[in-house]
């Protein structure tokens, strides 16, 4: 049984359905991401768990207890907001002490815990500063310390990296993940950034239009997506149109092996192959390629070369690592495309 459970939760605002009959099970200690484009309902889901909005129907349970009607202050759930919501009229120390003060702890304990929390997030000596004297990354750390110091059962993170610049974002990704691991707190992370979700999560739920489309580990989500939407939303993808046939998918005149190739013979499907999983070679006698084609375009990108290959009227993008031992293929060259059978996935 899940530590956090959503049972048939629906949230409507007027006529629009933000979250549609959601069922969700999150295990204790798990780093769980809600991933989807903006407006997919992920933030509403988080806000329902935090207690800021009530579900229209359905119930939410934590540790077997129904918390659907509990006010936020009775939930023991900490949240870090997108804009951090540091109290601007209080020092960093008072911000972090806020939850402890509300719990009626004595001053000595508060001082000790806040100082420890400041050290934990690497902000020792910042206690007397105010919000406007902090950088984005420091605000983030204060917001996290303010939540962790009250040792909640669940940590909610609402797009916490989106206000940071790219370099800081990379750094904070690993930092947050490390803190989460060392504290062992059940964490629910809302993001529209697939790379954040893939890097940090134990499991990911991909959402669109108020519904969960797939729940799985980063590897499952990336390598075995269950829909075209997920294949296109996460990472780069080639989706070749073809038809189901015995042994795989027929693309043009060629039959290519594919995972998830179940269904009626002749049904229209898309064959997913990730650009980095394709090997590109000059046409030779020998090992039979998956497909053959002709290089239509080549773009040099430093660490890799990106090729557009025409095959049977469809275009395949291939990313080739920029290594001197790999043959360079000029536009117009006839090429063979290879990949391992597991790399192809049939999608409806």
């Amino acid at each position: 049984m899940g530590f956090v459970q959503f049972k048939g939760v629906t949230k409507t605002f007027g006529k629009s359905v933000a979250v549609d009959t959601m069922d969700l099970d999150i295990a204790r200690g798990e780093f769980f991401s809600l991933l989807g484009p903006s407006g997919c309902g992920k933030s509403t889901t988080l806000r329902m768990l935090a207690g800021f909005v009530a579900p229209s129907t359905g119930s939410i349970h934590v540790h077997g207890r129904d918390i659907t009607r509990l006010p936020p202050e009775a939930r023991d759930i900490g949240i870090v907001f997108q804009n951090y919501a540091i109290f601007p009229h209080m020092t960093v120390f008072d911000n972090i002490a806020f939850g402890l003060v509300e719990r009626g702890e004595n001053r000595a304990d508060i001082k000790r815990k806040v100082d420890a929390a400041l050290d934990q997030v690497g902000l020792g000596g910042f206690g007397e500063r105010f919000e406007r004297q902090l950088s984005g990354g420091q605000k983030q750390r204060v917001a996290l310390a303010r939540v962790l110091v009250i040792e909640p059962e669940i940590l909610l993170l609402d797009e916490p990296l989106s206000a940071l610049d790219k370099k800081m974002r990379e750094e904070m990704k690993f930092w947050i993940k490390n803190i989460q691991k060392s504290v062992g707190i059940t964490t629910i992370y809302v993001t529209h950034d697939q790379s954040e979700a893939l890097t940090m999560s134990d499991r990911i739920a991909v959402m669109n239009q108020g519904r969960i489309l797939q729940v799985g580990s980063p590897v499952e989500i990336y390598e075995r997506p269950n829909s075209r939407f997920i294949a296109e939303f996460i990472g780069e993808s080639n989706l070749l149109s073809g038809r189901l046939t015995a042994g795989g998918v027929r693309v043009g005149d060629t039959v290519v092996p594919a995972a998830q190739a179940q269904g009626a013979d002749g049904a229209e499907v898309a064959l997913l192959i990730r650009p980095e999983q394709i090997r590109l070679e000059p046409v030779t006698e020998g090992e039979a390629p998956m497909l053959t084609g002709r290089v239509a375009d080549e773009v040099y990108q430093g660490a890799l070369r990106r090729y557009q290959v025409e095959t049977g009227g469809q275009t395949v993008t291939v990313e080739v690592p920029n290594r001197p031992d790999l043959a360079q293929l000029p536009p117009g060259a006839e090429v063979a495309l290879y990949w391992t059978p597991e790399s192809g996935v049939a999608l409806r």
């Binding site: 936020p72 759930i77 949240i79 919501a85 109290f87 806020f98 509300e102």
Partner: protein, 271 residues
């Protein structure tokens, strides 16, 4: 600090504008300091004679303190009502919110004479014993001052990030504690500004007072008006000096409160 240069034309226009607004006040002040018998400008010599007359006039002094008391009472109620109304308007999603805001703010746009007369007619026709009492006058002033509080507090709330309050709630604060410890300090400048507005508006209120005040409890503007109708003597101008001084003092006081705060914050910024 970089020096900002203001174009000469704009500077001249600004000076003319200020002069246009401030000259009548200068006239009143000088007229109140005249040594002559009549309310004239320029004054016939300077003296504190009429100021002394004001200070020894029981009628003026009592109306001055009556106005002060009334403005204070009005300020307290308007601040509470206006803040509550602004909070409600900023948080509700109910249909007709815009209409409700317009309704709450309407006393400012309606002619004061209309508001005053309407209240007067209402008190008389219903016979609820409020006509020509301080309570009836008080209600009229509250009605007139509250929209200013709604306006300034509403502006402060528009700039206020509600996730601050949500953060406080999820850290364990009850709705009331979250409001008092987080929301209130962050909109307090708007509330301060609104309450000082309410005080000044009530202190200078004329039209509503004209209908609702009684001869034994006259606010200062009514007392000045009545006095000028029958005897055109400079003690009314001297009363004006005190009224202007009080208003300027209250504005400076709030300004100082607010500025001191930003000043303190700046210094911490620099450290």
């Amino acid at each position: 600090m970089t020096e900002r240069r203001i174009p000469l034309v704009l500077a001249i226009l600004a000076i003319l504008g200020f002069a246009y607004m401030l000259l009548p006040i200068v006239v009143v002040v000088l007229a109140g300091l005249t040594a002559g018998e009549f309310l004239t400008f320029p004054p016939q010599g300077l003296s504190l004679r009429w100021v002394a007359a004001f200070l020894s006039s029981e009628k003026y002094l009592s109306s001055f303190f009556f106005s002060f008391k009334l403005a204070l009472m009005t300020m307290i109620v308007s601040t509470i009502l206006g803040t509550a109304a602004a909070l409600f308007l900023s948080r509700t999603n109910m249909v007709g919110r815009a209409a409700m805001r317009a309704f709450f703010l309407s006393p400012v746009v309606l002619p004061g004479v209309v508001v005053g007369f309407a209240l007067f007619a209402f008190y008389i026709s219903t016979g609820i014993g409020l006509s020509r009492t301080i309570w009836g006058l008080w209600i009229g002033h509250i009605l007139y001052s509250t929209p200013y509080v709604i306006g300034t507090v509403g502006a402060a709330l528009a700039a206020y990030d509600t996730s601050l309050e949500e953060a406080a709630r999820s850290l364990g604060a009850s709705p009331w504690r979250a409001f008092r410890k987080v929301t209130l300090p962050n909109i307090s400048q708007g509330i301060q500004a609104g309450s000082i507005f309410a005080f000044i508006v009530s202190f200078g209120q004329f039209e509503v007072s004209l209908f609702l005040s009684s001869p034994n409890s006259e606010p200062l503007p009514i007392a000045m008006y009545n006095s000028l109708r029958y005897q055109f003597d400079p003690s009314a101008a001297a009363a004006g000096i005190f009224a202007i001084t009080l208003v300027i003092a209250s504005v400076l006081l709030t300004n100082r409160l607010v500025n001191l705060r930003t000043l303190l914050e700046r210094r911490q910024d620099g450290s």
